[in-house]
Symmetry: C2
Subunit: 166 residues, 2 copies
C-alpha cells in the first residue's frame, strides 16, 4: 500500500516537473554544451574577450580551437583530443580554453587564414603565439589526429610564458 | 542466476564506460551549457559574430542578454524568463538568441553603459535597436521580473524589422 502510494507520488512529481515547460514543435532538444565534444570536464570560456580576461588574470596561456561540427577533420581531431587524458589534464590545470565554431573579428587569430581545425595559443600578455605551430607549412596551425604528441609539445612551449615577471 | 549475471554485466558496462576518462581532482563536473539557465530548448549562438551572421542570413531579429551567474537581479529575471512559455516559443521561432556573461568589444551593445541584466535587440540589418527599451530611464535596457509583459511587447516591436525589403 505504501509502495503503491509512493509510486503514484513519484509519477505525480515526474509529471508536474515537466508540465507546462516549453517544448519545440520538432521535439525536445538536448541542451547545447560549451564543450561541443572537446572535453566536457574542462571549464570553457564562451567568448574570446572572456578567455583573454581569464588568461591575464590567472596568468595562464590560452588555447583557442577553431572547428566546425560537420567537418570530418575537426571531428577526427576532437575524438583523439577529448579522449587523451594528458591533454585534458594539462588543459584543465594549466590553460584557459576556448573552442569556437565561428571566426572572431580579431585578425591576429588567423595568422595564415581561416580554416578548421586550427589551434592558436595566446600568451597571458595577449600576444598570439604565432611561433607555436604544427607541421603543415600551408596551414601552420592545423593538426591531424596523428599530431597529438606534437600538440602536447606545443602546449609545453606555450606554457613557457613570454614574460615571467610583470 | 541470469539476474546475477545481468547485474555483473551492468556493473562492468558502467565501469568500462567511465574507465580511463579524465576526471578533475575536485570531482566530476556537470558540463556547462550555452543556455546558462535562460531556456535550454532554445538554440543559442555562442558569440556576437555568430549571432549577427545568423540574424542576417535568416532575416530574424537578435536578442542579446547580458547577465552574470551570481547577480541576484539576473537570476530573478532568468527564472521568470525561462519559465515563460510565450517568451520561449517566440524566441525559438522568430529570434536569434545570445546570452553573454562577458561584454563584447562592440560599444553599440552598451548604449547607456555596461550593467546586468541588460537586453539589447539588434535588427538583421545589424542596427542596434536603441529605441526598444525598458521602463528605467537610468538603465534603459534593464528589465525586472515584473517587466515580462513589457519585454514581450518589445519583442513584438523588434520583430517589425527596420527594412522589410532588401
Amino acid at each position: 500500500m505504501i509502495k503503491a502510494a509512493l509510486s503514484v507520488l513519484l509519477v505525480l512529481v515526474a509529471v508536474s516537473s515537466s508540465f507546462g515547460k516549453y517544448t519545440p514543435k520538432t521535439g525536445k532538444r538536448v541542451p547545447q554544451t560549451l564543450a561541443r565534444g572537446w572535453g566536457d570536464q574542462l571549464i570553457w570560456a564562451q567568448t574570446y574577450e572572456e578567455a583573454l580576461y581569464w588568461s591575464r588574470s590567472r596568468n595562464k596561456p590560452l588555447m583557442v580551437i577553431f572547428h566546425l561540427e560537420d567537418c570530418p577533420h575537426s571531428q577526427a581531431l576532437k575524438k583523439v583530443f577529448s579522449e587523451d587524458n594528458k591533454i585534458q589534464k594539462t588543459l584543465d590545470e594549466d590553460f584557459i580554453v576556448l573552442n569556437l565554431v565561428y571566426e572572431t573579428t580579431d585578425k591576429h587569430l588567423s595568422p595564415d587564414g581561416q580554416y578548421v581545425p586550427r589551434i592558436i595559443f595566446v600568451d597571458p600578455s595577449m600576444t598570439v603565439r604565432a611561433d607555436v605551430n604544427g607541421r603543415y607549412s600551408n596551414r601552420m596551425y592545423a593538426y591531424e589526429p596523428s599530431d597529438i604528441n606534437l600538440l602536447l609539445n606545443n602546449m609545453a612551449k606555450a606554457k613557457k610564458l613570454l614574460k615571467s615577471e610583470l
